[in-house]
Symmetry: C2
């Protein structure tokens, strides 16, 4: 069955979204991610969307949900790799991803997470 | 157009393969990867295949090609996240991925790369 892989990098988790999301896949990702946060005691989650040419309200909501879930499990979420065209569309549509931190790329997202959890 | 994202993490690049590979996608990945190695001066490439339930000779050959390309551009390649069932099938089929280094997961792959390029 299709699932989105979650990679552990030190005390952070990386999720790369490459495929079209649908309900089942999004629910499964939430389940998998909360399981992994529990088992690995991860302090942060990076969601990379550099492969996405567009982000609609469904994906926006999913990202907000993951961010909320992570927060109550004591892990910060940072969204990375957003394409310029995606950012423009999001703002034009009024989807401003409230409560979700963003960074330009994985490196900067990692840096932000390390600062947030007090490592640098 | 569909493409596989390449994430930069410090001086290494991470490629997560989640979708079914086909000729065009594999060629494009090789192009993108060599471009990125050139532009970022990356010293290592991690290929994560934890999302793949099966690896056939096409994917095996693609991994070997990427590994060879990276090597002549002075970057090491490590294949990570192989599922146990995939390893069993590969060995049964006689596809032993000659010349390709493997590690259990991204963390160990990064550790191996750091050792190879002389950082620890």
């Amino acid at each position: 069955m299709e699932r989105i892989p979650i990679l552990q990098m030190g005390e952070f988790l990386l999720v790369t979204i490459q495929v079209d999301m649908h309900d089942q896949l999004a629910l499964r990702l939430q389940d998998d991610l909360t399981d992994r946060i529990e088992h690995t005691s991860a302090r942060g989650v990076l969601i990379d969307i550099s492969a996405l040419d567009m982000v609609d309200s469904f994906i926006g909501r999913m990202i907000a949900t993951i961010s909320g879930l992570s927060r109550i499990m004591d892990a910060e979420t940072v969204l990375v790799g957003m394409q310029p065209a995606v950012a423009i569309t999001l703002v034009e549509l009024g989807l401003t991803l409230p409560g979700v931190s963003t960074a330009l790329n994985v490196d900067r997202g990692m840096h932000l997470l390390r600062k947030r959890v007090g490592h640098s």
